[in-house]
């Protein structure tokens, strides 16, 4: 009788383990790939501040943008000869439409914790990196970049 019970238990354990392993392995597969050709530059965004290098040499760059939260942030690179950008009539956001053609690149709003790459070719000049979520630019989410 004990032998029979032990067999039954072993049987049950095996039956439970099979689907469990299948579930774990199905959910756990992730692939990692990296383009290494452009130079990678780290950019951190958080309420209400952007950390980025202030000077770069002209060339192609991959900006690895890390949203440290707590809310969504976007990243827009706009040339700025004066260091300031035109605002919309509401006085809370940059008028992107006015500068759109000159933008070397931009990232749409990303969730907190996200790390996204933005590949840009930067020509020499003065640029502003900013987040244009409502009020963020006004609250200080912008930084200047000089490309030589």
């Amino acid at each position: 009788m004990p032998a029979r019970v032990a067999n039954g238990l072993r049987f049950l354990v095996v039956l439970w383990v099979i689907p469990a392993v299948a579930l774990l392995s199905g959910c756990g597969s992730t692939g990692a790939s990296a383009k290494t050709t452009p130079r990678v530059v780290g950019v951190a965004e958080k309420d209400f501040h952007i950390s980025a290098p202030s000077t770069l040499k002209a060339g192609e760059y991959t900006l690895r943008v890390h949203n440290e939260g707590p809310t969504d942030h976007e990243l827009i690179i706009a040339p700025s000869r004066t260091g300031s950008l035109p605002l919309r009539p509401d006085g809370l956001t940059v008028n992107e439409e006015a500068i759109e053609r000159e933008e070397p690149g931009s990232l749409d709003p990303g969730a907190p914790g996200a790390v996204r790459d933005l590949t840009v070719t930067l020509k020499p000049g003065r640029y502003v990196l900013f987040c244009n979520m409502e009020g963020h630019y006004m609250a200080g989410m912008h930084t200047d970049l000089v490309v030589q």
């Binding site: 009788m1 032998a3 029979r4 019970v5 067999n7 039954g8 049987f11 049950l12 039956l15 439970w16 099979i18 689907p19 579930l23 958080k46 309420d47 209400f48 501040h49 939260g69 707590p70 809310t71 969504d72 006085g91 809370l92 969730a111 907190p112 914790g113 979520m133 409502e134 009020g135 963020h136 006004m138 609250a139 200080g140």
Partner: protein, 723 residues
Amino acid sequence: MKLGRTRAIKPFAAGSSNKAPIVAIFVTFALISAATIALSVTATKASLHRTDVIQVAARQRMLAERYLEEILLVRSGRQADPAYTAGVLSTSADALLEGGTVPEVNGDDDETSLPPADGNVLRAQFVQEQRLVDDLTATGEAVLRHRPMVNLPETADEHVSGLESIQRLRVLAALTSSIAFRAAQEIGRDDESNLNNLLTNQVLLGVGGLIVTLLLASGLLLTIRRQNAHFRSLALSSSDLVIVLGEGGCRYASRSVAALVGTSESDLHGSGLMDFVHEDDRALIEKVQSSGMPLEFSFRMLNRTGEWRHLEARVNDLRTDRNLRGVVINARDTTDRVQLEGQLTAQLQRDGFASRLGEALEMVDEEREAFNVVERAAVEISERTPMELLLSDSSRANLSRVASSPAIEAPGCPVRSPFSCVAVRRGTAVVFDSSESLNACPQLRGRPSGPCSAVCVPVSFMGRALGVLHTTGPEGQALPGEAVSQLSVLAGQAGARIGTVRAFEKTQLQASTDGLTGLVNRRTAEKDIRALMKAARPFAVAIADLDKFKQLNDTHGHEAGDRALRLFSQVVDRALRDNDVIARWGGEEFVIVLPELDRFEAVAVLERIREDLAAAHSGDTRRFTASFGVADSSQGDSMEELLSIADGGLYASKKAGRDRVTLGDSESAAQAKEAGRERAGAVAVTSEPPPDGNGVVAWRRGRASTHEAAYEEEPPPSGIQIR
């Protein structure tokens, strides 16, 4: 350990081995159902809460904007209550983060209770919202109170110090509104992903449960199949005989049954089985089939070699079992055991028979009684078998029937001489199955009762044939071996006893008979007298004495004396009736016993004898006479007394001159005793033969001759004399 790994085959452990998988299947179903329901319930509950949270979070956006408007209204001198809005904003921000109650969104006085925020992203957003609300309301208050925009908090890491006051208020309101919106979105997204997770989990649970159940079920099926295989192989290889009886007879017979009777299993189905069951056992099998009883029985089946096998069966009544609907019989072949038991029982019976027979014969001291024992023993061996015991007479030439079966007519074997009997010649028991077969005993042929079988056992003693024990039976049905051995025991023991009795009787006869005259001796006569007295039968007794026998001996020699004694014996013997007795008392003295006569009747008989004796003398036989003394049973109570009185009569006859018969009385008896004592005393005292020749005789011949000595020297006494 090797043993530990050995898996036991348990074909009959139906209950326990199948229970585990079945229970596992049910448990799996139960667990999965419970998990699904629990998931749904928590998801629904969480969803309900989230709706409240979303509504409150979304209202923050609206409140932030209204707060700005109300500040501006108050600034422009209108009526508004920005402080209340600030309060709701602040309370709501706190409650959204840590849980708590807030005014309900629909504007009634009711309150809604919120759970603490959960998830790092959401909590970080609510923390940020809290800070922004604080900064917003601080700025709003400064604007309302017209205070300069200095030393105002920037707790949310915003950089708004350079802005003009209304501009600053608008940016803060926008940031608050923005983060409130973002948080509401986050919650909504959570909700959605929760729902998706719920769906996914439920699908996974369902699929997993199905797989587990299928695996368990197939495992169960495998186990059952393996068990069935085990069981089948056990059942097939078992030597036990399994029969299932149901409607219409045999419904199943195991391979072992078919192998026993030497037919196919299908031939046994229905009524086929009964063909192999012993006729006497069929009713029992039918009873078992119809009633399931008895629980244990034995029956016989004919095996392939035509031999009856004894089977011991156990009955399992499974008529109510839906799978079987029959009576299951498990049987074992116990023939060998039954036979052994039979042999042992027969041996015991034979031993018992032999010892009882021995005891019965031991108590026998006459042939006639032995024959009776033989008759009764024969009945015990076989009541319905005609039997007879044929014994030879003492000449061992002729056989005659001395015992036969009491209730049945004796077989009537016509054999006349022991040496014509096959069994006697062979010295061993012979069995004839049929009187008509070629090698049958010729004595069996042509019997009036027709053809028969016979068993003949010789009866012998010390290797000498005494006769034969003869039995007959129906033709072809001779007695079984068991009975034959019992007959042999009977013949052996009866022969031994009869031989012994015969030898004993012969020696007894020799011992009780006088060698010279052939008459019984004194002891026998005394026994007869005592028997008559004991039976209180009247009788007369006489003592006879040959006259002047001593002179006859001395003059003509012992030959002449012996001839005289023999002649006297013959004369007396001829004169007596069958049950009268004459015995030689010793010497020339005789005692004659005459039952049913008194002394006077006896005198007549004795007188005739005296006359016969006188007439009998002829040729070379010397003439002699005899004297008699008579008494009868009315004269005394003991043999000694009667003999003493008769002796008195004899004494008187001698005294009166011999050759006469005299009735004795107590007086003459006393005289005879006196004379005898004197003579005997003289002899005894001297211890040497006295010079007198009569004395020598008296000494040599004992008391009997004292009379002669006594009365020869004395004159005849007075006494009653007849003639």
